[in-house]
């Protein structure tokens, strides 16, 4: 990947997207729990101060307030770190938003191990697993700036609960192509290949592409699929890949248990059994360190993915 590639953290894209669509969607309101500067919703706040509500450090209350706003026709985006938005909040999201299927969007930033220095207490590795269990909840993990903005637009056009996890880490912009098309529930094949398929989500997508390039140099032809929507998942693209490349390798900076790795194996074990390796966080908490150091340590950078795939094949 060339040095000139623009990098932007998807949380920043999230804040920009909200500000971008504020005009077009007058019912959009943004709620924060004292993290507007970190979740980047302050970009929206500056443009639409009257439609930004800071609830203070009270995530459960913020979630319930959003439910009430949604019953009155508003489209609330609630914003917090993924740890609090999905973890601390789980039962409120389930009962006040999920059960009545209210039109609340959860913008969860600082997801996964790439939170970095804050350490394990703030690194939500289980958010995908938790949110996937709520009936009717859409779960999205965009890979870059372009995709995050497209996901926010899709969320605004979707009637129902929506969870989006974004990252603190700067992601290379990989989707700024004229033929890029974002469709909820549809995976994107970023690279064709016959020997193995790497299925990645979020910030891991660009590292998967990096690993695929390294593999190509060794003569291994790896397909790369970007699964931005983990629920509902694109079964067709996964089954097709398993049929054509036999081996499947999943990558996420979250727990493989309940995460993308689980979602993919659920599809394959029932519909098209294949050999799968799941790379991601295993049964451990994270730790402090820069996000790039952590990705290296847990073999979630391009080099690490490459090394793991070499072992797998």
């Amino acid at each position: 990947m060339s040095e000139e590639v623009k990098k932007i953290a998807t949380r920043e894209s999230y804040g920009n997207a909200l500000a971008m669509y504020g005009e077009e969607y007058p019912d959009l309101v943004v709620l924060d729990a004292d993290l507007a500067n970190a979740t980047k919703t302050n970009i929206f706040q500056k443009k639409f101060p009257e439609r930004h509500i800071d609830c203070g450090i009270a995530e459960a209350d913020m979630t319930g307030i959003a439910a009430g706003l949604a019953t009155c026709g508003k489209i609330p985006f609630i914003s917090s770190f993924a740890m609090f938005a999905s973890g601390r909040n789980f039962e409120v999201v389930r009962n006040s938003i999920g059960y009545p299927h209210l039109n609340v969007k959860i913008g969860a930033t600082h997801a996964g191990i790439t939170v970095g220095e804050d350490g394990a207490s703030h690194q939500a590795l289980e958010d995908i697993a938790l949110m996937r269990t709520i009936p009717g909840m859409t779960v999205v993990c965009p890979s870059d700036d372009v995709e995050t903005k497209a996901a926010v637009k899709a969320a605004l056009d979707l009637e129902g609960p929506f969870y989006m996890r974004t990252s603190r880490a700067a992601s290379p912009v990989i989707n700024d192509k004229p033929d890029y098309k974002f469709e909820l529930g549809k995976g994107i094949t970023l690279r064709e290949g016959r020997d193995i398929t790497i299925i990645a989500t979020g910030v891991e997508v660009s590292y998967a592409l990096e690993a695929a390039e390294k593999l190509a140099a060794d003569g291994t032809d790896a397909r790369v699929i970007n699964i931005h929507t983990i629920k509902p998942i694109d079964e067709d693209i996964i089954i097709k890949a398993a049929k054509e490349t036999k081996k499947i390798f999943t990558v996420e900076e979250a727990f493989v248990t309940g995460g993308l790795g689980s979602a993919v194996t659920e599809v394959l074990s029932e519909k098209n059994p294949a050999e799968v390796h799941r790379l991601g966080m295993q049964d451990v908490f994270g730790e402090s360190g820069s996000w790039s150091e952590l990705l290296k340590k847990y073999q979630l950078d391009g080099e690490g993915i490459y090394a793991q795939i070499k072992k797998f094949i």
Partner: protein
């Protein structure tokens, strides 16, 4: 509806509660019965609602934060005409729309699903906030249990309501002093309840007898007026019951009222 009619209606609502819980062979009659007069007063005397137009965007809203007293809410809704009274005995039955706890997706007239204690007041705050954002004049009523006040989210919501001046929100605490493990005051006392809400900027009205229609009427009438209304630092402040502003306070008060005048 006069007092006699309200009392008769409340009694009919109570019969509906007993019928529903008997039909369900389970449920929560105690807290439903204690709040039967409150339900009745709200739906038959206080709230601006129309069973023929249950989704009217301008209607008043009601959130049953103590959702386990669904039989009380269902009985009043049925008697108000939202759905047939004959359906009450299907409460909690497989296939019935009358779920064990309020379900806004399937029950006409239910403004918010509830049942997990502590969550309803937050939703009510959201509805009140939406009213403010849309400059609508509807009011939001939220019934909490006294035991429910042990949930921390209630106080997050109370803080929010006070901080954001949600004067279109009316919180009712059914102070029956009973929870599953015993008297509320013994299990883990939330008392004094009034002082706590006052501290969060609420205008608190203590109703000596929540089963007395006259007292309920007096309280709900008072709740609609705000002490010190219009002057920012006087609103809901007990201290301004009988005191004159100094020169500086006078200037601030007049500026507040000028702002309202401009807005009009």
């Amino acid at each position: 509806m006069d007092k006699k009619e309200l009392q008769k209606t409340a009694n009919t609502v109570r019969k509906g509660i007993i019928t529903a819980v008997h039909g369900a062979k389970a449920g929560h009659p105690g807290g439903s019965l204690s709040a039967a007069d409150i339900f009745t007063y709200l739906y038959f005397a206080e709230m601006n609602v129309d069973p023929k137009n249950p989704k009217d965007p301008d209607r008043d809203r009601f959130v049953l934060s103590k959702g386990h007293t669904a039989p009380g809410l269902y009985s009043v809704l049925a008697n108000k005409g939202y759905f047939p009274v004959e359906d009450l005995p299907t409460l909690r039955h497989l296939g019935s729309y009358l779920q064990g706890h309020p379900d806004m997706k399937h029950i006409p007239g239910v403004d918010m699903s509830s049942g997990s204690l502590g969550q309803g007041l937050s939703a009510a705050c959201g509805m009140a906030l939406a009213g403010k954002l849309d400059k609508k004049s509807y009011r939001v009523y939220c019934l909490c249990g006294d035991g429910e006040l042990q949930e921390g989210q209630i106080w997050e919501a109370a803080m929010f309501a006070g901080a954001k001046n949600l004067d279109n929100l009316c919180v009712i605490v059914d102070n029956n002093n009973l929870q599953i493990d015993g008297p509320v005051s013994e299990v883990c006392s939330p008392y004094p309840i009034d002082k706590k809400f006052e501290a969060f900027n609420f205008h608190v009205i203590n109703v000596a007898d929540g089963n007395d229609m006259d007292q309920l009427k007096a309280a709900f009438d008072e709740a609609k007026t705000v002490k010190g209304k219009g002057v920012s630092f006087m609103e809901n402040q007990v201290g301004w019951h009988g005191k004159a502003p100094n020169d500086e306070e006078y200037a601030t008060a007049m500026a507040d009222l000028d702002k309202i005048e401009e807005a009009l």
